[in-house]
């Protein structure tokens, strides 16, 4: 019993330390935001007056509905792109399938704001595509006009979230489900609509709700497209232009959180009782049909068109980074390496900061994620589930809200020399770490769930203490999964902007994403901004490759070992 006592004392200490961290850097800032939104300005009395003001201000109401419209339309268009691809790759023998599957990683490699300016140049009123259309057929398409631009950009960036989830769901359908339908006289699209699609609905909803929330919370993409009348940009603009004491920024933040929570709650409601995976036995999906020549041509046309759209921001960014002047012409007037020279000269501090912040944030995430996964899956500590819930709520907290919370909560906290805590660069790291924690946590869960408990029991049976078992058995076996979690956190942290936007106090402390955002604001800075963007894409792409490799290797090693 004494042994068990010390064991759970150690676990309890660990759990308390994590709880303290989450409390200070997640719960307190968010609670502060909510508290401020519900208190009278200047006074301390609780009130709903701020929300009434919000509802009475046309700008905010319009921004709210604009955000709803943009998010919903993004889901519609993203679904329109994802559905045919998912159908093609899961139900037909189709050479392009691999190509389509790799599309799934693109939104992780480059968030939409990075390509926003480049997309203006390609698809804007006087962009390459419209210039060509105008020259040939005498008309233009308003891809990028106002809200359409945001929808267009977000849809081609986020449709892979739907594609990946939907394809996985389609592949996991027991093939007998569809064969039974064929046996009873159904086939083709009708079968897909009546059987496959409803069964894959959970996967679709998961992807679609994620897209909705991400688009709703995005600050930078609308701002770079000069769209200000959306809710998340309004929160940012309100705080940065009017000040940290203005309650409207907080009210908007609460609305953003509310929408994120409501979306997740709604998707959970829709999915209730539809967890078909458990009722299905074998996986495998229907035997894939060969495409007829004519169908094949059509299929390739669809895939190539979508692929061209998906690659457009990347191509545009690359062109822009090498362009001397690019304006009112389909392609740049000339090419130069000057932007890269300038970036490596002036802006290398951005790159250095990004590498530092992202690796620190990812290390924190893996340590905390691994610890929470261990406490939840392997101990009986009371309240351990709360750690998981607390860490996961970060998903529902938009970056801009977390940033505002940090400003408000930590600005008053002064260091001995008088600088406010919120002005330190380490706060940026902590904000990024909190934002990415849910991802690392999922990776840690996955890694730990694959390790049979009996491996640990065997170690204990042979005389190893809990702590030594963790060190000698659990951690080595989790390495691959944790490494993958680290790299994923690192890569996505490297392009995190919305929280960072609130917290950067000087260019000297700014990471790459911030520098890119600032440079992209002015025509003169675009080339350098694009060069920075290309560097960011390369950093992230290399990291994703490494993560994939690490995950594959650890899978294989486990295969050999057990």
């Amino acid at each position: 019993m004494a042994l068990a006592g010390t064991r759970s004392a150690g676990q309890a200490t660990l759990a308390l330390a994590i709880a303290l961290f989450l409390g200070v850097f997640l719960v307190v800032p968010v609670a502060t935001v909510i508290y401020v939104a519900f208190t009278e300005k200047g006074g301390g009395a609780l009130t709903l007056i701020n929300f009434l003001d919000f509802a009475r201000t046309d700008l905010f109401v319009r921004s709210f509905w604009n955000s709803v419209y943009v998010s919903a339309m993004t889901v519609v268009w993203a679904s329109a792109l994802a559905l045919p691809l998912a159908y093609l790759t899961t139900r037909f023998e189709f050479r392009g399938a691999m190509l389509v599957q790799t599309l799934g990683f693109l939104p992780l490699v480059m968030p939409p704001f990075v390509g926003a300016v480049a997309m203006q140049l390609l698809f804007g009123r006087n962009g390459s595509v419209n210039l060509l259309l105008d020259g040939w057929f005498d008309f233009k398409i308003g891809f990028m006009e106002g809200l359409n631009g945001v929808i267009f950009l977000q849809a081609i960036h986020y449709f892979p979230f739907i594609l990946v989830n939907l394809s996985a769901a389609l592949r996991n359908i027991d093939r007998a489900m569809e064969e039974a339908a064929q046996n009873l006289g159904s086939h083709g699209l009708r079968l897909f609509r009546r059987i496959a699609l409803p069964l894959a609905l959970p996967g679709y909803i998961a992807g679609a709700s994620l897209v909705f929330v991400k688009v709703f919370d995005d600050v930078a993409t609308p701002l770079l497209l000069n769209v200000k009348e959306m809710l998340a940009p309004q929160a940012y603009l309100r705080i940065t232009s009017i000040g940290i004491d203005d309650p409207m920024g907080y009210v908007i933040s609460v609305v953003l959180i509310g929408v994120a929570v409501a979306t997740m709650w709604a998707s959970a409601q829709v999915l209730k009782g539809k967890d078909y995976a458990t009722t299905q036995r074998g996986g495998g999906g229907l035997a894939r049909r060969k495409l007829k020549p004519r169908e094949s041509v059509l299929a390739y046309a669809v895939v190539i068109l979508i692929l061209a759209l998906v690659l457009a921001p990347h191509v545009g960014l690359l062109l822009l980074s090498f362009a001397t002047v690019w304006s009112f012409s389909p392609l740049p007037d000339g090419y130069t390496l000057a932007h890269y020279a300038r970036v490596l000269d002036d802006s290398s501090v951005y790159i250095k900061n990004t590498l530092l912040y992202s690796s620190l944030a990812a290390a924190i995430d893996v340590a905390i994620g691994g610890a929470i996964a261990y406490l939840v899956l392997r101990t009986r500590l009371p309240g351990r589930q709360w750690l998981d819930w607390a860490a996961s709520t970060a998903l529902a907290v938009p970056g801009v809200v977390l940033g505002i919370g940090y400003l408000r909560a930590f600005y008053g906290v002064k260091l001995p020399d008088g600088t406010p805590l919120a002005a330190l660069w380490i706060v940026i790291v902590l904000a990024i770490a909190i934002r990415r924690l849910p991802y690392a946590l999922r990776a840690a869960y996955a890694a730990l769930q694959q390790i049979s408990v009996s491996l640990e029991e065997a170690a204990e049976n042979l005389g190893a203490t809990k702590a030594r078992t963790v060190r000698r058995i659990v951690v080595p076996l989790m390495t691959g999964g944790l490494l993958a979690g680290f790299v994923t956190s690192f890569a996505t942290a490297a392009v995190e902007l919305s929280a960072v936007l609130m917290l950067v106090q000087s260019n000297f402390d700014a990471p790459l994403a911030y520098g890119l955002y600032v440079l992209m604001q002015t025509p003169a800075g675009r080339g350098a901004g694009a060069a920075l963007g290309v560097i960011a894409v390369i950093i992230v792409a290399v990291c994703m490759g490494v993560a994939q490799l690490a995950a594959d290797r650890s899978q294989r090693a486990r295969g050999l070992d057990i």
Partner: protein
């Protein structure tokens, strides 16, 4: 119900890559027959069933339904009802919707659909469960929904892919009786795939025993048991003693030198082995029998006692009715095995 339809399989060969799954399969299932494909897992029985349903393509040969080659028809035009091993009930539809599906695909009028759904559910005794979801039903009920869904479309033939394998032992006995009764009532040509000989024996008119893609024998359950055509069928159906040996003139010499006289007119084929069932032999105290040796093992099975006797290098099983404890033989007792010549089979592989 329309008239029952026969199924003919002619010269079918089917391969997946380099794996030859069905080898020169010829078979005729008579109209209205309850027929079983019986064999160990991997023998090709499910593939043969899927071939009939249109879910597999043969490289050579034909599948004839009612004399017509169905090769050009995709699964959804075959009118071949299949009940899947996992039942494959669609979890997003109610029981009634599941049963209505095939009728809706045939664009029948709503009133007709409703009538036939009710009729099919009535037939399997699930009329009260129309509004339920499959997940709310027991395994046996799910199985009956799967059957109702299939017979609702009034298929030409009914294919059952291991329909009892997901049920517990007690359910299996009652469900197989229901299946048999239903089949008799509908007069529907039915093929039943199973690896369980008891299931095949109890409900099927005839059985095709399959092994490694080959049909080893076709016959009624009793014919197969009494007159297996080869060693595989003999050993797959029930227990059998199989002893190596070779024919020498009018006798069969078992390895170890013991000779059994061959009855007049019986010829042991080349490579034949001696085969007999444990219950067809009896034990004697005299070791004058050509088969004799010490008891090495004894199992009490209730009505019978199963003895193992070492004869040369082989072990022979003999079932003796249990009379009383006093009459039991002990391990180590020398005994003779008495085998009536007409009970001895000489079979090649």
């Amino acid at each position: 119900m329309s008239k029952a339809v026969g199924i003919e399989i002619v010269g079918v060969n089917l391969s997946y890559g380099s794996t030859h799954v069905l080898k020169n399969v010829d078979l005729a299932v008579r109209p209205g027959e309850f027929f079983a494909f019986l064999g160990p897992s991997g023998c090709g029985k499910t593939t043969l069933l899927r071939l009939i349903a249109g879910f597999a393509q043969a490289q050579t040969g034909q599948v004839l339904l009612d004399g017509q080659d169905v090769a050009p028809l995709p699964p959804w035009k075959r009118d071949v009802g299949m009940v899947f091993q996992s039942y494959a009930l669609w979890p997003h539809m109610t029981v009634a919707k599941n049963v209505a599906f095939g009728l809706e695909e045939r664009r029948l009028p709503r009133a007709e659909i409703n009538r036939r759904v009710a009729q099919a559910l009535d037939l399997v005794g699930l009329a009260d469960y129309a509004g339920r979801r499959p997940a709310q039903l027991s395994g046996g009920q799910q199985q009956r929904v799967a059957v109702a869904r299939t017979i609702a479309i009034e298929p030409k033939v009914l294919l059952l892919d291991e329909p009892l394998s997901n049920l517990d032992a007690r359910m299996r006995v009652s469900v197989r009786r229901e299946l048999r009764a239903l089949q008799q009532r509908l007069g529907l040509t039915t093929i039943f795939v199973t690896h369980d000989q008891e299931e095949a024996n109890t409900i099927c008119d005839r059985i095709a025993v399959m092994d490694a893609g080959i049909i080893r024998q076709v016959g009624t359950p009793m014919e197969l048991y009494e007159n297996p055509a080869n060693l595989f069928v003999a050993s797959f159906l029930g227990s059998a003693n199989i002893l190596d040996g070779h024919a020498t003139g009018d006798a069969f010499e078992v390895v170890g030198g013991m000779r059994l006289p061959l009855p007049r007119g019986v010829v042991a084929p080349t490579g034949a082995k001696l085969v007999f069932r444990p219950q067809h032999a009896s034990l004697t105290s005299s070791v004058a029998s050509p088969l004799h040796g010490p008891v090495t093992h004894r199992e009490f099975l209730g009505a019978t006692v199963r003895y193992a006797i070492r004869v040369g290098d082989s072990e022979i099983l003999v079932d003796a009715p249990f009379q009383s404890v006093g009459e039991l033989r002990d391990v180590g007792d020398p005994v003779g095995v008495d085998l009536p010549p007409q009970r001895a089979l000489y079979l090649a592989a």
